[in-house]
C-alpha cells in the first residue's frame, strides 16, 4: 500500500500546488517533497533485505485482459525510490534563490514528474511500467521547453521525439511478450513482469526483444550513439529540469536494462551483450574526451554524465553480480553527484551570468563554503576512495573486468579522464585570477548550504559505509542472477 501512496501522493500534492500563488508555492512544494522523502525513507529503512517485492499493491486495471495496476518495491527498485525521494526536495530547495515565472505550474510539474518516476521504478506490470515511462516525459518536456534557454523549443522537441520513438519499440516488445504468456485463471494472458521472466522464448525472439528494449533504454540513458539529444537538452533546460533529467530520469534506462533485458532476453544478451558493452565503453571514452574540451560548465557536466552512464550500462551487461550491484549503487551515487555538480554550475551562473570557464576564475577567494562543497562533490564524481563514486565505479569496473579484460581496461579510463576534466573545471572556475564577473562573488546562502550538506552527507555515507545500501540490493541481485545463470546453462 505504501507504494501506491508513494506514487499517488506527489501527483495529488502537485494538483493542490497548482492552486497556490506567489512565494508560498516554493514552501508548499518543499513541504510536499519532504513528506515524500519521509515516506521513501520509511520504505528504505523498513525494507526487508530479501528478494521479495514489498509494500506493494495489486488491483485489476484492464481486468479481462490480465493487465493489472500493480506495483511494489524490491531490492532493485528500493535505492531508486530512495534516490527520487531524496533528490526532489533538494532540487526544490535549490531553486529557493531563483524565481521562475508561473511558479505553481513549475513546481507542480516537478511533483508530477516525481509521481511518474516512482511509478516507473516500482511498476510490476509491463504496461504500467510503459505508461509511467512515457508519462514521466510529459512534465519534463514542459519544464524544459517552457523555462529553458533560447534554443529550447527545437532542442527539447528533438529530445521528446527521440525518446518516444525509442519507447514505441519497447511497447511492441511488451505487447509481443504479453501474447506469449500462458492464460491465467481470469484472463487469456498476463502482463506481469514476473510472468515475462518465466517465458521460454526462442533465441531469435530474444534477439529482437533485446534490441527493442535496448534502443528504448539506450536513448533514455543515453548510450553511444543514441546520445545526440542529450548535451543540448541538458544545457538548454532550466537547471532543476536538468537535475531531474540527469539525476533521476537517466536511471530509468539503466533500471530498465536490469529489470527487463537481462532476465527476459538472456540469450539476446548472450548474442548482443558484447556489442552493447563495446558501445558503452566507446561512450565512456568519447564522452570523456569531449568533456575535456568543453568550455561551458553545464555542457561539460552533461558529457561527464554521458560518460558515467556508459560505465553503468557496461557493468549491467557484464552480467556479473558485482557489476549489477555496482550499477545499483552507482545510480544512487551518480544521482547525488550530478545534482551537486549542476547545482554548482547554476550557482555560478546565477551570480556571474556566465558558464564559460574562461570568463570565470578566482571564485575561491570569497567563497570558502562553496569551494569545500564543490571539491567534495567533485571528488565523489572522480571516484576517490571514501566517496560514493568510488564504491559504484569500483564494483562496475570489477564487473566489466570479469567480463572482458580489455574492455575493463578501456572502461577504466573513465577514472583518469574524469579526474582530468573535473579538476580542470575546478581549476578554471575556482582558482586563478578573478575576472570582472567573479569579483563580487558572494558565498552560499542558507538554503544553498542545506542542499550541499545533504548531498555531502550521502557522498560520505555511501563512500564510507556502503553496506547500508549494498545489503538491501544484494538478495534481489542474486535472485536476478538465477535467470541469467539458467540461460548460460541452457546455451551449452
Amino acid at each position: 500500500m505504501l507504494t501506491l501512496f508513494l506514487i499517488l501522493y506527489p501527483a495529488a500534492a502537485a494538483t493542490l500546488i497548482l492552486l497556490f500563488r506567489g512565494e508560498r508555492v516554493k514552501q508548499a512544494a518543499l513541504v510536499a517533497a519532504l513528506v515524500e522523502l519521509a515516506l521513501a525513507g520509511y520504505a528504505f529503512l523498513g525494507f526487508q533485505p530479501d528478494a521479495s517485492s514489498q509494500f506493494g499493491f495489486d488491483y485489476p486495471w484492464l481486468g479481462s485482459l490480465g493487465i493489472r495496476f500493480s506495483a511494489g518495491i524490491d531490492g532493485i527498485s528500493v535505492l531508486l525510490v530512495l534516490l527520487t525521494g531524496l533528490l526532489v526536495p533538494l532540487i526544490v530547495l535549490s531553486t529557493f534563490n531563483r524565481n521562475y515565472e508561473r511558479p505553481s505550474t513549475f513546481y507542480a510539474l516537478m511533483l508530477y514528474m516525481q509521481a511518474a518516476l516512482v511509478g516507473v521504478f516500482t511498476a510490476r506490470d509491463g504496461f504500467l511500467f510503459y505508461l509511467f515511462f512515457e508519462a514521466a516525459l510529459i512534465p519534463i518536456y514542459f519544464l524544459a521547453a517552457m523555462w529553458g534557454g533560447e534554443n529550447r523549443i527545437a532542442v527539447t522537441f528533438k529530445f521528446f521525439v527521440y525518446t518516444i520513438f525509442g519507447s514505441l519499440f519497447m511497447l511492441v516488445a511488451l505487447v509481443y511478450l504479453y501474447y506469449q504468456t500462458p492464460p491465467t485463471a481470469i484472463a487469456p494472458h498476463s502482463a506481469a513482469i514476473e510472468d515475462f521472466y518465466k517465458l521460454k522464448l526462442t533465441a531469435e525472439a530474444q534477439n529482437w526483444i533485446f534490441w527493442a528494449f535496448f534502443i528504448a533504454f539506450a536513448i533514455k540513458m543515453p548510450v553511444f550513439p543514441f546520445h545526440t539529444w542529450q548535451p543540448d537538452t541538458y544545457v538548454e533546460s532550466p537547471t532543476p529540469a536538468t537535475m531531474l533529467l540527469a539525476g533521476i530520469m537517466l536511471k530509468m534506462g539503466v533500471y530498465g536494462l536490469i529489470r527487463f533485458i537481462l532476465p527476459i532476453a538472456p540469450l539476446g544478451v548472450g548474442t548482443w551483450g558484447k556489442t552493447a558493452v563495446i558501445l558503452s565503453v566507446i561512450g565512456i571514452i568519447y564522452g570523456s574526451i569531449i568533456a575535456i574540451r568543453q568550455r561551458d560548465m553545464k555542457r561539460l557536466i552533461a558529457y561527464s554524465s554521458f560518460s558515467h552512464v556508459g560505465l553503468m550500462a557496461a557493468g549491467v551487461f557484464s552480467q556479473t553480480e558485482t557489476g549489477l550491484q555496482g550499477a545499483l549503487v552507482q545510480m544512487l551515487a551518480h544521482g547525488i553527484n550530478v545534482v551537486g555538480m549542476f547545482f554548482v554550475a547554476d550557482i555560478i551562473f546565477s551570480r556571474t551570468n556566465t558558464r564559460q570557464l574562461d570568463q570565470l576564475g578566482g571564485i575561491t577567494r570569497t567563497t570558502p563554503k562553496l569551494t569545500v562543497f564543490f571539491m567534495i562533490i567533485l571528488l565523489g564524481s572522480v571516484a576517490l576512495p571514501l566517496t560514493n563514486g568510488f564504491v559504484g565505479e569500483f564494483l562496475l569496473l570489477h564487473g566489466v573486468f570479469t567480463y572482458n579484460n580489455y574492455l575493463g581496461l578501456a572502461a577504466g579510463f573513465t577514472i583518469i579522464f574524469g579526474a582530468v576534466y573535473m579538476l580542470r573545471m575546478f581549476q578554471k572556475s575556482m582558482f586563478g585570477p578573478t575576472s570582472s564577473r567573479t569579483e563580487s562573488f558572494s558565498d552560499l546562502t542558507a538554503s544553498e548550504s542545506w542542499v550541499f550538506i545533504s548531498l555531502v552527507l550521502f557522498v560520505f555515507w555511501i563512500g564510507v559505509y556502503p553496506h547500508t545500501f549494498l545489503k538491501v540490493t544484494e538478495p534481489a541481485v542474486v535472485n536476478l542472477m538465477k535467470y541469467i545463470g539458467t540461460a548460460t546453462v541452457s546455451m551449452k
Partner: protein
C-alpha cells in the same frame, strides 16, 4: 429501430421550427432530440432484434457505435452556437441535415442487407455534400462541396456495382447470404473477388483510406469547421462500423484473400496521412491529413481481424472522435478571434498554426483542452488515444503482422511531430492577444471532452463491460 424513426421525425420537426422568428430554440431543441434518441437507443440493450423485414439488426455493438455517433453529434451541435451570429446562416436546415445524415450513419451501423448499406451511405453522403457547401459565399466551400459530390457519387457508384456483382456471384444481398455464397472452400470466384473489391473501395473512399483519400484535404479544409468536425467523426465511425460488419460477417471466410491487400492499403494510408500532415501550415488541413492517418490506424484492426478487433475499433473511434471534436472546437474559437486581427491574403480567417501562439497563457482551459486532445491523437499515455493505439497494435501482434506494426510505430513518431506543433505554439511561443471569450456551455463541452479523454486514458477498463 426507434432511433432511426425518431431522428427522421426530429429532422423534419427542426425544419419546421426554422419558420419561427426566434432561432434561439433550434440549438437546445437539437440537443434535446439527440439526448432522447441516445436514451431510446439503449432500449434494446442485451437483446438482438431484426427490423424492417430483416434489413437492420440491433446488437450491443451496433448500439455502442450508435452511441458514439450520437454523442459525437451532440458535442458538435453543442459547439455550433456560432451559426446564430451569422446573417446568411440557415441553422434549421443545418441541424435538420445533420440529423438526416445521422439516420444514414445509423443504417450503416446496423445494416443486415447490402441494399440498406447503400441507402445509408447515400443518406449520409448527400446530407454531407450539402453541409460541406453550406458556406455558400465562400469559394472554397463551394469547391469542396463540388469535389466531394463528384468524387463521392463516383465512389458510391463503384460500391453499388460491387454489390450487384456480389449478388450475381452469391445470389443474395444479406450479409449472411453473401457470406455463405462466397464460400472459400472451392476458391474465390472472379465475380466475388471483383464485387468484394469494389464494395470495399466504395467504403474505403468514405473513410478516406489511401489511395482513395485525395478528396479529403480539400473537402475538410473548405467545409465550415463545424461540419469538418462532424464529417471527420460521424462519417468515419459509421464507415468503420460498416467495414467491420462486412469484413467480419460476410467476408471473414475470405480473410486469406483480402488481408494482404488491406494491409497494403493500411500501410499506404498511414504513410500518406502522416508524412503529408508534417508539411501543412494550416491546422485545419493538418487535421484533414491526421484524419487520414487515423483511418490508417483503424484499418490495422481490420487487416488483422481477430478477437480484439471489435474492442479496438470501438475504443479507437471513441478516443479519436472525442479528441477531434475538442480540437475543432478550440479551432473554431481561435479562428474567429484571429479573424478580426489577421486576414490571410485570400480573405479567409487564419487557421494556421501561428494562430495558436500563446494561447495557453491567455486561455489556460482552451490550451489544456487542445493539448490533451493533441496528446490523445498522438497516442501519448494517460490519454484515451494511447489505449486506442495499444488495442490496434495488439491486434496486429496477435496476427503476427509485425511489418505492419513497424510501419505504424514509425508513423506514430511522425505524428508526434505535427501534433506537437500546436502544443509548442500554444505553450512555448508568444502571441500578443487578449483572452478569447468562451461561453460557459462551450466551456463545459470542452471540459467534458478533456475529462473523457483523460478518464479513458487512466481507466480504459471503463468501457470494457459494455459490449
Amino acid at each position: 429501430m426507434l432511433p432511426i424513426v425518431l431522428l427522421s421525425v426530429f429532422g423534419i420537426v427542426l425544419l419546421f421550427l426554422g419558420f419561427m422568428k426566434s432561432k434561439a430554440i433550434l440549438l437546445p431543441a437539437t440537443l434535446l432530440f439527440l439526448v432522447i434518441t441516445l436514451a431510446v437507443n439503449f432500449l434494446d440493450w442485451n437483446k438482438s432484434y431484426l427490423y424492417f423485414n430483416d434489413m437492420l439488426r440491433t446488437s450491443n455493438l451496433s448500439m455502442v457505435f450508435t452511441a458514439i455517433v450520437l454523442g459525437s453529434a451532440f458535442m458538435v451541435v453543442a459547439l455550433s452556437s456560432r451559426f446564430m451570429e451569422e446573417e446568411s446562416a440557415q441553422p434549421a436546415e443545418y441541424y435538420g441535415l445533420m440529423l438526416f445524415s445521422l439516420v444514414g450513419a445509423l443504417m450503416m451501423i446496423g445494416f443486415e442487407n447490402l441494399i440498406m448499406l447503400f441507402v445509408g451511405v447515400e443518406i449520409l453522403s448527400v446530407a454531407m455534400y450539402v453541409l460541406t457547401g453550406s458556406d455558400k459565399r465562400n469559394l472554397r466551400s463551394n469547391e469542396a462541396a463540388l469535389k466531394y459530390f463528384l468524387m463521392g457519387a463516383f465512389a458510391t457508384g463503384i460500391m453499388l456495382f460491387g454489390m450487384a456483382l456480389l449478388y450475381g456471384a452469391t445470389g443474395s444481398f444479406t450479409l449472411a447470404g453473401v457470406g455463405s455464397g462466397a464460400n472459400p472452400q472451392q476458391g474465390i470466384s472472379l465475380l466475388t473477388a471483383s464485387g468484394m473489391l469494389m464494395l470495399l473501395i466504395g467504403l474505403l473512399f468514405k473513410v478516406s483510406a489511401a489511395p482513395f483519400h485525395f478528396w479529403t484535404p480539400d473537402v475538410y479544409d473548405g467545409a465550415p469547421t463545424i461540419f469538418t468536425a462532424f464529417m471527420s467523426t460521424v462519417v468515419k465511425t459509421a464507415g468503420f462500423a460498416a467495414l467491420f460488419k462486412l469484413l467480419s460477417v460476410s467476408f471473414a471466410g475470405l480473410y486469406p484473400w483480402w488481408w494482404t491487400l488491406l494491409a497494403i492499403i493500411t500501410a499506404l494510408t498511414l504513410v500518406a496521412g502522416n508524412i503529408t500532415a508534417v508539411y501543412q501550415n494550416s491546422f485545419k488541413r493538418m487535421m484533414a491529413y491526421s484524419s487520414i492517418s487515423h483511418a490508417g490506424y483503424l484499418l490495422i484492426g481490420l487487416a488483422a481481424l481477430g478477437t480484439q478487433t471489435k474492442q479496438a475499433i470501438v475504443f479507437y473511434s471513441l478516443a479519436y472522435s472525442v479528441a477531434t471534436i475538442a480540437a475543432f472546437g478550440v479551432l473554431l474559437l481561435v479562428a474567429r478571434q484571429r479573424a478580426t486581427q489577421t486576414f490571410t491574403s485570400e480573405g479567409v480567417m487564419s487557421e494556421n498554426f501561428d494562430a495558436f501562439n500563446g494561447l495557453a497563457r491567455q486561455n489556460p482551459l482552451l490550451g489544456f483542452a487542445m493539448a490533451v486532445s493533441m496528446l490523445s491523437l498522438a497516442g501519448i499515455p494517460l490519454t484515451a488515444g494511447f489505449w486506442g493505439k495499444f488495442y490496434m497494435f495488439s491486434t496486429a501482434v496477435e496476427r503476427g503482422q509485425i511489418w505492419l506494426l513497424v510501419v505504424a510505430v514509425l508513423m506514430s513518431t511522425v505524428g508526434i511531430y505535427y501534433y506537437f506543433r500546436v502544443i509548442i505554439a500554444m505553450y512555448f511561443r508568444d502571441g500578443a492577444t487578449e483572452p478569447i471569450q468562451v461561453a460557459p456551455f462551450y466551456r463545459y463541452v470542452l471540459l467534458a471532452a478533456t475529462i473523457l479523454t483523460l478518464g479513458l486514458g487512466i481507466a480504459p477498463g471503463l468501457l470494457q463491460g459494455l459490449f
